[in-house]
């Protein structure tokens, strides 16, 4: 026996289905372990999880083994990456091997069926009519057209043949689906090698041109982002967030940059900003009050026009009438009232901001009011309306910035996978041959057909076709 060359042997291994099936199984089983073991977590956490399976006594030892094998950071481990590479190589080799076969299908349209093959067909039907019944090629063609087939006619020695096919291209579906996985894996590889990701934390009113990666490295963006405002809104009468929005402006060397004609851009959860290949996502927010934060009010006196004011803590604003002065003397980011009517702060986050405003007339205290941003009822005071529009300069937004050169391969791969899977599973290649033979005293019509999937549906259609031919 001639010994095969090493490359041929490798090729055989990578083109084998056993390898694919083994890789499916190994990736699946190791992933189960990887999903149970908390990845990149503190050892104690995982030992506790393992204690549930193996008991307190064995857990540390089991953890030691799993840690050594890389299961605690499994999806980045060399052997898991190697598994994915084998998976990709397997796909590529299988695809190359299949190419000639696919090509053969694609370039060879249906031909008339040899007489001896009629009896071998997957689906067979025989119809016999009395001689003289007119079943010409036109009526058969019309019947086929009813099923969406475009028919060809062939007049041979053995009789008249009308034949047609549909969905020949669907043979390529499986191929596209497999190649799409290679594309996605390639995109992921490019991403893991060259993607840059970091965060930017911006106080309201502050700007920055630097993002910080997970490793603590600073990356210059080449332009600056300024947070004009951060806003969280909530569903009515609840603390369930409705939206988180960062209002930002961009600039380079001091000159503003517009995007689609807008200077101020909103970054929302689910609506990131894309600029120069970098995606900025709304990733978090927080609240740090300090002396420079500004309380914003809109004041409408009983007799006057609306006026916006902003002031610092304990500063006064004289706007209601001529001699009434307001002054913020307390603030709560999340104000609530208990059953006894006492106010208290129930959260550290700005869920229900409220300012306690003291109103004086000629230095004499008139009244104090808690004015809540989310409660218009609280804006009503005897001398007019004071709307609390929020505390500005006290919140910060966290933006996640990511530049991934592989993302377009991922998108392309997803699109191809969608198309490929659809064709591979929902479009079938159907072929049908109908032969008419005139015999003494009768006309014989033989139908042969084949399909590469969903045979029951095709059989049902052919049933309809025979009815069409019989009575048409």
């Amino acid at each position: 026996m001639k010994k095969k060359h090493i490359i041929d042997r490798m090729w055989d291994i990578f083109s084998s289905l056993s390898l694919s099936i083994a890789v499916f199984a190994i990736i699946a089983i190791t992933s189960v372990i990887g999903s149970v073991i908390k990845q990149r977590a503190a050892p104690e956490q995982n030992i506790e999880i393992l204690a549930g399976f193996f008991g307190e006594f064995l857990a540390p030892a089991v953890f030691g083994i799993l840690d050594t094998l890389g299961f605690t950071d499994m999806f980045q481990s060399w052997w898991f990456i190697a598994l994915l590479c084998i998976f990709a190589a397997n796909l590529i080799v299988c695809s190359i091997n299949r190419l000639p076969g696919i090509w053969e299908w694609m370039k060879s349209p249906i031909r008339p069926l040899l007489p001896e093959h009629f009896s071998l067909a997957e689906i067979k039907k025989e119809l016999v009519f009395k001689a003289g019944v007119d079943k010409d090629s036109e009526s058969i063609k019309t019947a086929l057209k009813g099923l969406g087939f475009k028919a060809n006619v062939h007049q041979g020695d053995s009789g008249l043949q009308v034949y047609a096919e549909k969905g020949r291209y669907s043979r390529v579906g499986v191929y596209i689906a497999h190649l799409s996985i290679v594309l996605i894996l390639t995109g992921a590889a490019i991403g893991s090698l060259w993607a840059v990701e970091g965060i930017m934390v911006l106080m309201e009113g502050k700007s920055s041109g630097v993002i910080v990666t997970q490793e603590g490295e600073e990356v210059q963006l080449g332009f600056e982002i300024k947070c004009i405002d951060f806003e969280a809104t909530f569903f009515e009468r609840s603390d369930i967030a409705k939206s988180y929005t960062s209002w930002v402006t961009l600039s380079q060397n001091g000159s503003p940059i517009q995007i689609n004609g807008d200077e101020i851009i909103a970054i929302n959860v689910n609506a990131p900003l894309r600029f120069r290949g970098i995606t900025f996502l709304q990733a978090g927010h927080g609240f740090i009050p300090h002396v420079d934060s500004l309380f914003k009010f809109r004041v409408i006196p009983n007799d006057g026009k609306a006026k916006d004011v902003s002031l610092k803590f304990e500063e006064s604003f004289a706007v209601l009438g001529a001699d009434i002065i307001g002054r913020v003397i307390d603030f709560s980011p999340a104000l609530a009232i208990d059953s006894k009517g006492r106010v208290f702060t129930y959260a550290d986050a700005m869920k229900n901001p409220a300012a306690l405003v003291e109103f004086t007339k000629n230095g004499v205290l008139k009244y104090r009011r808690w004015i809540l941003k989310r409660d218009p009822m609280s804006w009503q005071i005897p001398d007019g309306i004071v709307e609390f529009r929020g505390l500005w300069g006290a919140q910060y937004t966290v933006l996640l910035a990511r530049k991934d050169p592989g993302i377009w391969l991922i998108y392309l791969g997803c699109l191809m996978a969608g198309i490929g899977l659809y064709i591979a599973f929902f479009v079938s290649h159907r072929r049908i041959w109908i032969r008419r033979r005139d015999k003494e005293g009768s006309t014989e019509i033989t139908i042969a057909a084949s399909t590469n999937k969903n045979i029951t549906d095709f059989e049902r259609k052919i049933e309809r076709l025979t009815k069409g031919i019989s009575y048409g």
């Binding site: 694919s20 990736i27 992933s31 990887g34 999903s35 990845q39 992921a188 369930i240 967030a241 599973f425």
Partner: protein
């Protein structure tokens, strides 16, 4: 009349339909079959109305656009929609195969899920969507994922039926496999039901659920006696399923369902579920994750498990189409696939946690 009213009607209809289908299987009177189908269809229509009106309710509550207000994100809505998908797939099968006997085997899936919702006291209030979920991708992602879960559930049922029909010998591996799996499935289900009956409320976090509730009323009860009784009762139950398994075989055989048809149905459902799951759950999920979390894949438990499920079914398809696996071996893969999907759908949320807060 709000959505829960119509859902209630649908629930009652499905339970009656389940009983009627079983009666049809036993008595073989065509008229009973027609009644069963009518009831199922009525229930399905009612649930569709419930779904649409709940959509409108959520839309008017949230005011973030009708596309984004699809009511499929709470545990209650998720379970309900799963039932809807199973019933829809079942009605399609009944219509395509002109065989009503399957109803007796598939409507119990709906019945069990409904019982779970009811005795579990699953919270059925409207829950507004947090910003991360407010996306146009949500609709496609969840609906396609659930259609896939529905088809996988049916493939699971037909695979178990296949094993029941083709095995005779109580000592053979496949027989033991299908009876144990069925017994275990029902046992776990009953134990969960007892949990919910005893505690009445769903705890908030997965960790709290496992720590404080899971099997606490039965196997993990503080009382050693209850715990022991639970184990003995389930052992007896599984033993009974094993011992009397042949009754299922006779029932199926008597209803003109052939082993080949069951094998074929399992395959067809997976052939629809696999690409649907691949596109809807994994690809659309990845694209959405990139929009909202800034990465398309992060080995979050939900992502990892959806990949595991997909690989199991990829295994199924390759073994079947290229290796010619048929019958027992492939039916066992279909059963494993459904357990994997069930874990992807619910197990991940309750046990592993992660970023994915929606029950989908």
């Amino acid at each position: 009349m709000d959505s829960t009213f119509f859902f209630g009607i649908a629930g009652i209809a499905y339970i009656i339909a389940m009983v009627t289908y079983i009666a049809y299987l036993v008595f073989k009177k065509p008229v009973i079959g027609v009644i069963a189908t009518t009831i199922t269809f009525t229930g399905f229509l009612s649930q569709t109305i419930a779904f649409l009106s709940r959509w409108e309710e959520l839309n008017s509550l949230m005011q973030i656009g009708i596309i984004r207000a699809v009511p499929l994100t709470s545990f209650y809505e998720s379970l309900g929609f799963f039932i809807w998908c199973v019933i829809l797939s079942y009605l399609v099968i009944e219509w395509r195969y002109k065989n009503r006997s399957f109803g007796a085997f598939i409507t119990p899936i709906a019945g069990m899920t409904l019982a779970f919702i009811d005795i579990g006291g699953i919270h059925d209030g409207l829950q507004p969507l947090v910003p991360a979920l407010q996306s146009n991708w949500l609709l496609a992602h969840i609906i396609l994922s659930f259609i896939a879960y529905g088809t996988f559930a049916i493939a699971f049922t037909t695979a178990l039926m296949y094993l029941a029909v083709t095995t005779n010998d109580r000592k053979s591996g496949p027989y033991i496999f299908w009876t144990t799996i069925t017994g275990l499935f029902v046992t776990i289900f009953i134990a969960l039901g007892i949990d919910f009956l005893s505690f009445r409320i769903m705890v908030e976090t997965p960790a709290a659920y496992i720590g404080e509730q899971l099997f606490m009323a039965t196997f993990r009860s503080d009382s050693g006696v209850i715990s022991l009784i639970s184990y003995i009762a389930s052992a007896i139950f599984i033993f009974a399923v094993w011992w009397y398994g042949y009754i299922f075989k006779r029932l199926i055989e008597s209803s003109a369902i052939s082993a080949d048809l069951l094998d074929d149905l399992s395959y067809k459902n997976i052939a629809v579920g696999f690409p649907t799951f691949g596109v809807g759950a994994i690809l659309i999920g990845a694209i959405w994750a990139n929009e909202v979390w800034g990465r398309y894949w992060g080995w979050d438990p939900k992502e990892t498990w959806s990949l595991i499920t997909w690989l199991v079914y990829a295994f199924y398809l390759h073994a079947r189409m290229l290796r010619g696996w048929r019958g027992t071996k492939i039916a066992i893969v279909a059963v494993i696939g459904f357990f994997s999907s069930l874990f992807t759908w619910l197990g991940v949320n309750f046990i592993l946690g992660g970023l994915h807060t929606v029950y989908g």
